[in-house]
């Protein structure tokens, strides 16, 4: 595995869950850059590069979005729908990370256009294993993006 830099956008309103995820990323991969949006509206602004996120150098486009479902202002499902409605974002991978394992939530997320669905774990070992995988997924995508660039 090489040191290709990559960016994950975490969309999570719960501060404890944010900290756990940051900790797991720190344990997993030193080349990962994590951006955080605290609600659905902020996530859309980040991806659209509007408002405080207009400067792309400071807020680079992510290789992977990790999204909670239960978010203030705009729900996770509506964020997924918004992403899939943007032609430029159609290929952006979106992974749902939710505390819900309900079948209807899983099916709704996939139907909205999520690429993957994970259930939050409070066990640090499990979370770290999952986050290592997410980092690797983002890195592989970043490599592909790098190879595609002129």
């Amino acid at each position: 595995m090489n040191g290709q830099a990559f960016i994950i956008l975490l969309v999570e309103d719960d501060l404890n869950d944010q900290e756990l995820f940051k900790y797991a990323v720190g344990k997993s991969d030193t080349t990962a850059r994590l951006a955080v949006a605290c609600d659905g509206e902020e996530a859309i602004a980040y991806l659209a590069g509007t408002g405080v996120f207009a400067e792309r150098e400071r807020h680079p486009f992510p290789d992977l979005v990790v999204l909670d479902l239960n978010l203030p202002k705009v729900s996770g499902i509506d964020v997924v729908r918004w992403i899939r409605a943007q032609p430029a974002l159609k290929a952006l991978p979106v992974t749902i990370l939710s505390s819900s394992a309900e079948t209807t939530d899983v099916e709704t997320a996939y139907a909205a256009g999520a690429n993957s669905y994970l259930v939050k774990s409070s066990e640090l070992g499990i979370l770290t294993g999952i986050v290592r995988g997410l980092c690797e997924q983002a890195r592989i995508r970043a490599e592909f993006r790098g190879a595609e660039a002129p």
Binding site: Y110, A111, G129
Partner: protein
């Protein structure tokens, strides 16, 4: 590493199973075992199959020691021609609920009333799939789910399709999976081939890092065996690499299937 037979044996009374098969031999072995196991346990088995597959199932049942004449005579093996039955359910390219309910419902009710358990095998949906009528296949699967909801009758559906198929088949297969509870492996050697293909394409270390993520991923609908889960995950999350991995897996399987 479950093979198709082990997966069938581990299924439960409420399962709506599905298998994507590439060769008729695979189908005959797996579905033949599902049917034979039911009869061996004293259950009534409802089989809705094409004549060609029925012949293969007969051979599988005979090989399993089932007295075919006896189970037909005492009504424990109830058989229907899949195409004729399907034709009787269809109108304007779609199955009709009241026709389905009035055809299949009484058959299941009679079988349940006998006691001893009931299981069913069906491939009307595969006829629709082969004809490219996915919406009708999905609707028919929904009808099966409705009719099975009140009865403890496991159902085994088979589709001639492959998870290692073209990308264009990906979404339709996922739509089919949503209607089922468990995917039966298409072949026993798929897991080894997919694992090897992932390691060859992405590297052993990356494969080991991705494995917990793939294993933790929730799927919509059917529970998937490892190999199928890995292929679907790659197609959903790393589509550019998925095609290469799938190509390698096909080569590995082809090379291992070739005569020495």
């Amino acid at each position: 590493m479950p093979n198709p037979i082990e997966a069938v044996n581990a299924s439960g009374r409420h399962d709506h199973l599905v298998q994507f098969y590439s060769s008729p031999e695979t189908l005959a072995e797996t579905a033949g075992h599902f049917i034979s196991e039911g009869l061996r346990k004293g259950e009534t088995v409802v089989v809705i199959a094409t004549p060609g597959h029925s012949v293969q199932f007969d051979a599988a049942m005979a090989a399993a020691g089932i007295d075919l004449a006896a189970v037909r005579a005492n009504g424990r093996l109830v058989e229907f021609d899949a195409r004729r039955t399907l034709d009787s359910l269809m109108s304007e390219g779609q199955p009709v609920w009241h026709r389905f309910q009035s055809t299949i419902g009484p058959v299941l009710d009679k079988a349940v009333a006998r006691g001893g358990g009931v299981r069913a095998y069906g491939e009307m949906v595969d006829i629709l799939w082969q004809a490219g009528n996915l919406s009708a296949a999905i609707r028919l699967e929904g009808y099966w789910n409705q009719i099975l909801a009140k009865r403890r009758v496991p159902l085994f559906c088979a589709y001639r399709a492959s998870v290692l198929g073209e990308a264009s088949n990906h979404s339709p297969l996922q739509n089919i999976l949503i209607m089922h509870t468990q995917l039966i492996p298409g072949r026993g050697d798929l897991e080894a081939a997919v694992n090897r293909a992932i390691e060859e394409d992405l590297g052993v270390e990356r494969a080991s890092v991705l494995r917990p993520l793939i294993a933790a991923t929730q799927t919509a609908g059917a529970k998937l065996p490892w190999a199928e889960a890995a292929v679907f995950w790659l197609k959903n999350n790393l589509p550019d690499r998925a095609e290469r991995v799938i190509g390698r897996a096909r080569v590995i399987l082809g090379a291992e299937s070739a005569p020495a």
